[in-house]
């Protein structure tokens, strides 16, 4: 087994280099086919996204896969940005990439889809189907395991998603909880979009200028409402995103206090992203009312980022354990054919030697024939004994794969008997 991952990512190369090295989707099948057309390359997969370009190949033991890839693709200008992982490190790298541990935003879910697509493309081009295919499939299930067993992808790290996450933490499901946007602004629009997509049934837009409310509402299937009726609406909507240019507090503590009676104490989530602020901070002291300003949202995003890092540590442990399991499986697959071909090779040598010398020995009694047979077999078995036991025990050793390779080279065994 000779695995190799060669590539560059957002960690090693700036975007100008990445975009030059990218393999366009329409050229993918051809690139894959040309790779496996090279002597010694058995399987290949190419992952090309805006954050990384990676070649994963399985080659014959003697093949320098890195050189083959470099000969086919113009990687020279990016040489100092390239990383190269072999064997165990290659497997770990593939697992980490699929699990989004190597992503720019650790835990983002897009990469899993991209890996899936890359595998599908390689399978369609007929360049997968052996051990590499198995490892890539394993990488996808490791990614799923990481996702379900750790909270790595759960915490929002951008402010507008934090707003959605908090709404979920307050209301449970967003189903049946309407949103009101006060004023305008890129961020409130973004947050409203996320809330809408997460299940909020309706978004209302209020603006001092009626035309602007209409215009903004049109952009995301919202409903403009007259600014004068603001407080009537506040009695009914559950989530408010405020970003007006008002100089003072638009929503005071007394106002919200009286609203809560009309709301029958249904909880309310107020997001104030205006500077200067629109909502009196004292509002947060009212029972069942939760007020977050822009700094509070940032603070939650920070805490989430730290939480993600903690979860990432647990994810790394899972990946490490999975790499061990994958290696063990690969070695077990490798050891048996190696032993078989080693025995076959020694038997071939023994027979050839008897064949060659048989004529010189003249007539022999069956007992003598038997003695030669026993003698030669004994020698061969004695010689083979140590390598075979070593193969069996070293299979579980971290350097086992390397050792199997050495045995294959020493005895000049073919890749697959």
């Amino acid at each position: 087994m000779n695995l190799l991952v060669l590539g560059l990512s957002h960690k090693t190369a700036p975007v100008e280099v990445r975009e030059r090295m990218a393999v366009p989707e329409e050229g993918l099948a051809e690139a894959l086919s040309s790779l496996v057309a090279q002597p010694g390359i058995a399987e290949a997969m190419i992952l090309s996204t805006c954050n990384r370009v990676e070649f994963a190949v399985r080659a014959e033991p003697e093949t320098d896969a890195g050189a083959v890839i470099r000969s086919l693709f113009p990687l020279d200008p990016a040489e100092r940005h390239l990383y190269q992982h072999a064997q165990r490190d290659a497997i770990r790298h593939l697992f980490r990439v699929a699990s989004s541990l190597d992503s720019m935003v650790v835990g983002e879910s897009q990469i899993l889809g991209q890996v899936k697509d890359a595998c599908a493309a390689a399978r369609a081009a007929g360049t997968l189907g052996g051990p590499l295919d198995e490892i890539l499939n394993r990488a996808l299930s490791v990614a799923k395991r990481v996702r379900t067993e750790t909270g790595i992808g759960q915490m929002a790290v951008s402010v507008s998603y934090v707003a959605v996450e908090l709404a979920r933490k307050i209301f449970g499901s967003l189903d049946g909880h309407t949103v009101l946007i006060l004023g305008s602004g890129k961020m409130s629009e973004l947050a409203a979009r996320h809330l809408r997509r997460s299940g909020a049934p309706a978004v209302f837009v209020a603006n001092r200028t009626w035309e602007r409310a209409v215009e903004m509402a049109a952009r995301f299937e919202g409903r403009p409402v007259p600014f004068e009726q603001l407080f009537e609406f506040l009695a009914h909507v559950d989530i408010v995103i405020s970003s007006t240019g008002a100089p003072g507090f638009l929503i005071t503590r007394e106002r919200v206090q009286s609203l809560m009676a009309a709301r029958k104490n249904r909880p309310m989530f107020l997001i104030d992203i205006a500077v200067p602020r629109d909502i009196d901070p004292g509002v947060n002291k009212i029972d069942n009312v939760f007020l977050y300003d822009i700094d509070d949202l940032e603070q939650v995003a920070d805490a989430n980022r730290r939480q993600r890092e903690r979860e990432a540590e647990r994810a790394e442990a899972i990946v490490e354990a999975e790499v061990d399991r994958a290696m063990a499986r690969l070695k077990a697959q490798d050891v048996t054919p190696t032993i078989a071909s080693l025995q076959a090779e020694l038997e071939r040598v023994r027979r050839a030697e008897i064949e060659r010398l048989r004529g010189r020995l003249g007539d022999l009694t069956p007992e003598q024939e038997q003695a030669i047979e026993t003698l030669t077999r004994g020698i061969v078995n004695k010689i083979a004994h140590t390598p075979i036991t070593q193969l069996k025990t070293l299979a579980s050793h971290p350097d086992g794969l390397h050792f199997i390779d050495v045995i294959r080279r020493v005895f000049n065994l073919k890749e697959n008997p």
Binding site: F171, R263, N265, D296
Partner: protein, 274 residues
């Protein structure tokens, strides 16, 4: 102990049966959160009020004076007064939600009143023991539900503090959303309330048949009625003004403590059980 005419007892039992429809309506309302049975319950309640009045008047005539000499008679009178008051308030303001509070209260008061009269002893020992078994099972299921209410209330308080503080710590990530916890505490409370109401009724009947009127001063019974009152008040405030949140959670925990105390007094059995 003949303190009432035979017919007044009969009318009181008719009244109690009609009031039980009101109780059923109240329990279904808090559990299912729909009020479809309300017209039926209201009608039976109004008719019951007439029988109730007849029963009290007859008893007064038999006694030859105003019938408020003992606990049973006074709770009967208070029950009737609350019923009349409710019917007037409803007629004026159509304040339906009040029924959730009034129906159970009136039923329990009338139940206490009707337990002032001697009844036949158990028809068979099997009925007696299965009745007791029913009481115990209902009460324990009720306590279990109220225990869940308490757990949900504690988690609510922690999660609420996390959200108000705006500095998410471990609990913020681990605990369910506030809305879910609130829903859970309301549902378990409604179910627990229905169960302990039924447990209270079956228990009262049993104690009455077994022990006459001695049971009324049993500390466990008094605590049980207090607990029941606390939960009734919580469910009523939740139902009408949507009282929820931090303070409601504190009350739910207090109610659970009261329920636990009720359960623990005399190590689970009543003082009059030998």
């Amino acid at each position: 102990m003949v303190c009432m005419g035979e017919t007044s007892v009969f009318w009181l039992r008719v009244t109690l049966t009609l009031y039980s429809l009101g109780l059923g309506h109240a329990l279904l309302t808090v559990i299912r959160r729909r009020q479809r049975l309300f017209p039926v319950a209201l009608a039976s309640f109004a008719i019951a009020a007439v029988f109730h009045l007849v029963s009290i008047v007859e008893e007064g005539m038999t006694l030859g004076r105003f019938p408020v000499v003992n606990l049973h008679q006074s709770s009967s009178l208070i029950g009737l007064l609350i019923t009349v008051l409710f019917l007037i308030v409803y007629w004026r303001y159509k304040y339906e939600s009040l029924a959730v509070f009034v129906f159970p209260i009136v039923f329990v008061l009338t139940l206490i009143a009707s337990l002032g009269h001697p009844v036949q002893p158990w028809a068979s020992p099997a009925l007696r023991s299965s009745w007791l078994f029913l009481h115990v099972v209902l009460a324990l299921l009720g306590y279990a539900a109220l225990f869940l209410t308490c757990v949900a209330a504690v988690m609510y308080l922690i999660q609420e503090r996390e959200l108000k503080s705006k500095k998410p710590r471990a609990f913020y990530y681990r605990l369910p959303p506030l809305g879910t916890l609130d829903e859970m505490s309301y549902r378990t409370m409604a179910a627990g309330f229905a169960l302990i109401t039924l447990g209270l009724i079956t228990g009262s009947f049993w104690a009455f048949i077994e022990w006459g009127t001695r049971w009324v001063v049993d500390p466990k019974i008094i605590l049980a009625f207090v607990t029941w009152g606390i939960y009734l008040a919580m469910i009523f405030t939740r139902w009408t003004i949507g009282w929820r949140g931090r303070k409601a959670a504190y009350f739910a925990i207090a109610g659970s403590c009261c329920a636990a105390l009720t359960w623990m007094v005399d190590r689970g059995v009543h003082s009059f059980v030998p």
